[in-house]
């Protein structure tokens, strides 16, 4: 993949997946892996930081005799996601503008 998924991007993606519903670590990783290459990073630090910042909470649930740690988005996480989406939109607009030659007009 030509583009690196950096920390803030990954934050937004994780929050977006969690907005669809709570997920456990493995499941969350698999969902993201379907779309983006995570080989250069690991989700653990991202989850930990989002948790520390109050954007997500964790809870443990028993599943077939073992523990599953679920991650759930918080209201503050949802707000963060909204901000992230609007920032991404404006950023994407700027890049599109450059990539498709909009610059010549100006």
């Amino acid at each position: 993949m030509a583009f690196q998924v950096t920390a803030p991007l990954l934050d937004g993606c994780v929050l977006a997946v969690l907005e669809q519903g709570d997920a456990y670590g493995y499941n969350l990783t698999q969902q993201l892996r379907r779309e983006i290459d995570l080989s250069e990073s690991t989700l653990y630090p991202v989850l930990r930081r989002l948790q520390r910042d109050g954007h997500l909470t964790v809870y443990d649930e028993q599943f077939q005799g073992r523990n599953r740690r679920y991650y759930a988005i918080t209201p503050s996480g949802k707000q963060q996601l909204t901000e992230f989406r609007s920032e991404w939109e404006s950023y994407r607009g700027k890049i599109d503008h450059i990539l498709w030659g909009g610059m010549q007009d100006g």
Partner: protein
């Protein structure tokens, strides 16, 4: 390499680099990750994660990057040689606190009492010395005057020594209690080696 070996290596690598609590948390995350993937996917998971060394390097790199970007607070300097900063590792924290309080109950009154006694005696002796000189000078006879002067000076110096000893005792009590607290409750001792 099987899953257990992988996770053991990972833990060993992480505990040397991160606060114990963080290291355990990470190992827990990957233990769960392996479990969810199932035994038949163990090899595949290891291939994706990379070797324990590679995974550790990734984790540390991400942390460093986040610290540099200001998204995360830098780690506290880590304690080496002795147990984790939180708790002394061999006693629950409340037992440590109880022990310190118990020892404090014995040390503070005895040594503190001695210090107060020494200090009071010193002040009285000092004052008596001064009085003796004053009275001696007024008294008759050169011999008597010299005797009073000499005796008074001796009393003043012994008195000030006692006061200094009392100060030293207070300092000792304070130092002893601080060290007891550090060893029994914080588990830090003075052997710190900042790793950053």
């Amino acid at each position: 390499m099987d899953k257990e070996t992988y996770l053991r290596f990972l833990r060993a690598l992480l505990v040397n680099r991160l606060p114990a609590e963080d290291a355990e948390d990470i190992v827990r995350f990957y233990t769960e990750y392996f479990e969810e993937a199932g035994p038949e996917k163990e090899a595949q998971v290891m291939a994706t994660l990379g070797s324990p060394e590679e995974l550790t390097a990734k984790i540390m790199e991400q942390r460093a990057k986040e610290e540099a970007d200001g998204v995360r607070e830098p780690d506290e300097p880590r304690t080496r040689g002795y147990s984790a900063p939180a708790g002394n590792g061999f006693l629950p924290r409340w037992v440590g606190i109880m022990l310190v309080v118990f020892m404090g109950c014995m040390i503070v009154p005895t040594v503190g009492g001695m210090a107060i006694g020494f200090g009071a005696a010193g002040i009285v002796l000092f004052a008596c010395g001064g009085l003796m000189i004053a009275l001696g000078v007024l008294g008759a006879g050169l011999g008597g005057k010299l005797l009073a002067l000499g005796g008074g000076l001796v009393m003043i110096s012994v008195g000030s020594l006692l006061v200094q000893a009392a100060g030293g005792m207070f300092w000792l009590v304070k130092k002893a209690m601080t060290n007891l607290w550090n060893v029994l409750v914080e588990g830090g001792l003075t052997y710190h080696e900042a790793v950053n």
